[in-house]
Amino acid sequence: MSERENILGRIREALQVSAPLPGAHGETSAHTHTESPASHAREWLPSVGASVEEQFALFAKNAADLKADFQLLASRDELPVALKKMAAAEKWSRVASHEGELSNFACKALGLPVLLTDKGYDVQAMEKCDVGITECDALVAQTGGVAVTSRSAGGRALSVLPPHHVVVASREQLVADLPAAFALLQQKYAPDFPSMISFITGPSRTGDIERILVLGAHGPKQLTIFCI
């Protein structure tokens, strides 16, 4: 018999005795038995506000708490200006990005040499880039983070290898909360999901030395989110 069958056999034997339901100390279940226990998660997670304005304000506050840089731009024309200012201040000389309506617009505005990941790339060359510019799937107001996938954001490495990750997003990509973000991903991709889906909530960080926050442990030290 294979180990698979051995393990499944032991599991089935063990499960012949049923276990008490959780919270058996006189508590009642929070859901009806026809739906999943987590289906009401929205009612218990941190509140997000009803209007889009409130949700953008919450996103901005959460992003600031995470030490991410969030810039809500009034129009598309402001993006080249903001990017060029950032490029000059940080002395960018090489950019890594991927094909996409917004990412192409951002790269063109910068006018710097661009490494595109779409058709394969040299990882050492990407390591030498100053910034990775990607699109995303969603901005999550509840957490101040973004959701990216290997399909929407130029693969797996682009959003973590360069020291600065710049996300270019459009306003309609804002979702209220995590349940909405998961629903959106499922609707957009199922059953053919990209091989990687990542919720990025702030720049890379560690607290492994005396629990003191340090940004840029292995991934980007800076995360900028432009929303137009």
């Binding site: 180990e3 051995n6 393990i7 599991i11 063990a14 499960l15 005795v17 276990a19 008490p20 959780p22 919270g23 999943s36 226990p37 987590a38 289906s39 009401h40 998660a41 009612e43 218990w44 997670l45 941190p46 509140s47 959460n62 708490d65 991927h98 394969g120 990882v123 957490t143 101040g144 290997s150 693969g155 797996r156 490495a157 973590v160 995590l178 349940p179 998961f182 629903a183 499922q186 999901f193 990209p194 091989s195 990687m196 889906i197 990542s198 919720f199 909530t201 702030g202 890379s204 960080r205 560690t206 607290g207 492994d208 030395i209 005396e210 629990r211 840029g216 442990a217 292995h218 991934g219």
Partner: protein
């Protein structure tokens, strides 16, 4: 006395009196408590979220066979190779064989407690492979040749000064003791390792049966890089990690972050559903997932304690445990320490050898209250005590209680015992804590309160 008990007692005595250790741990955990409480308060209903999380894990664990079959068929449909390992030795051999087949030399690892559980690094190094831990805390303890101190904060027992000295000695690079600069040293060391490693190794936090995904939670980006750059990816995960649905993560990810580190969300929560797919530009060519039993099915067979398989390894019960905070993580001598470690280790490694851990508890219940999936931890500690004494009764303890029962039930004996106690207590004080003291286990570090001259019964009888 087995060496596990005596080792535990020796280390516990040493650590409980170590003021430096105490101050490092208290400082770290005080800041944890403040941020965790703040994040919990941000939930509209943390209690309802806990109940739903508990019920979701109950559903997952009590239909584990069905979910594992669904998970593996989804994973395999997208080209992932799934392996099953009943024991740690089997898992080690599967992993070593993958490395031999790939003619790999160097392995970059992101944090995985399952790999500690099966002592993977040691086995691979013995075969000549180079293994580098990429999580900063894990990297630090690897340089010190010691196991992680805590399942979430592996190096929380060290000060920046000690880490600076360690980096100076092992890496020849430690510009100062600033956490920022020390982190940058590790970042520089690790960068080239990512680019050149043959195999990337990860653990897994959740496995989604519905969509065939493995979700990895981390702050540093080291797991993201581990799963992006090397040509082969290997993931080792306990069979209990399943969740039924993709949408369950919307609840579990913020709860894990809140309970584990007081964060609204951990920095990177990443779901992998396969190796590099057609049309994708990077990612591993091959992905091997190893599902590890290693006596988890024995825990599953104990219906009373089955909910301890709901554990999402957030470490919240360690952080609030008065015993853990005094004796520290290494004292346990187990991969999983603190209350949950005390509950599951006797099942995973033998009840009689590890039953002493269930006594390393004040039964205050702080662990049960802190658990985001409502595992009934402190009752399980009692059940372990009961099971241990049922399978191997302690003769002298039983005799002592029988004698006590006899004395306490007979007023004549009782008043005689009182008089004896009153007469002998001054003698006990003379030998307190020494080898001659019959109560030395208790009195070595504590005072026996003096017995009052007049008992309640005497007072009642003599009252006017």
């Amino acid at each position: 006395m087995s060496t596990f008990v005596s080792d535990f007692k020796t280390r516990a005595t040493e650590k409980a009196g170590d003021l430096r250790h105490r101050s490092v741990i208290r400082t770290a955990l005080r800041s944890y408590e403040i941020v965790r409480d703040k994040r919990k308060a941000a939930f509209q209903s943390w209690e309802s979220a806990r109940q739903a999380a508990a019920e979701t894990k109950w559903e997952a664990i009590n239909h584990l066979d069905k979910h594992l079959v669904a998970l593996t068929s989804k994973l395999e449909a997208r080209g992932t190779k799934v392996h099953w390992a009943s024991t740690g030795a089997q898992a080690r051999e599967i992993i070593a064989q993958i490395l031999r087949d790939k003619k790999a030399r160097s392995i970059i690892k992101s944090k995985a407690m399952t790999s500690e559980e099966i002592h993977l690094n040691h086995a691979l190094e013995k075969e000549g492979f180079t293994v580098v831990e990429s999580d900063l805390g894990e990297f630090i303890v690897q340089l010190r040749h010691e196991p992680p101190y805590h399942i979430v904060f592996p190096s929380m027992h060290l000060t920046r000064g000690e880490i600076k000295d360690l980096f100076q000695k092992e890496l020849g690079d430690a510009p100062s003791d600033s956490p920022e600069e020390l982190t940058m040293v590790a970042r520089r060391v690790m960068r080239q390792k990512y680019l050149t490693a043959d195999v990337g190794f990860t653990g897994g936090n959740f496995a989604i049966a519905e969509t065939g995904m493995i979700s990895i939670t981390e702050n540093e980006g080291n797991a993201r890089l581990t799963a992006a750059l090397p040509k082969t990816m290997v993931t080792l995960m306990g069979i209990e990690k399943v969740l039924p649905r993709f949408s369950d993560l919307a609840l579990f990810l913020p709860m894990l972050a809140t309970a584990g580190a007081g964060q609204p969300m951990t920095c990177y929560n990443t779901m992998y559903s396969g190796p590099r797919q057609p049309g994708e530009c990077d990612g591993p060519e091959e992905w091997h997932v190893i599902l590890l039993d290693n006596r988890r099915t024995e825990l599953l067979a104990d219906a009373e304690q089955r909910d301890s398989l709901h554990c999402i390894r957030c470490g919240a019960c360690l952080n609030v445990c008065p015993i853990f905070r005094n004796v520290g993580g290494h004292t346990y001598g187990t991969t999983y320490s603190g209350p949950v470690g005390a509950v599951i280790t006797p099942h995973l490694r033998g009840l009689q050898d590890w039953k002493h851990l269930s006594n390393a508890s004040s039964l205050c219940g702080a662990c049960t209250e802190a658990c985001p999936v409502k595992i009934d931890l402190h009752h399980h500690l009692l059940q372990n005590r009961r099971n241990a004494s049922a399978s191997e009764p302690a003769f002298f303890e039983r005799l002592a209680y029988q004698i006590f029962g006899l004395v306490a039930n007979e007023p004549v004996f009782w008043s005689l015992a009182k008089k004896l106690g009153w007469l002998t207590q001054p003698l006990q004080r003379a030998v307190k804590g020494s080898a001659l003291d019959p109560a030395k286990a208790w009195t070595k570090t504590r005072d026996l309160p003096p017995q009052p001259r007049e008992s309640f019964k005497d007072w009642w009888r003599n009252r006017k």
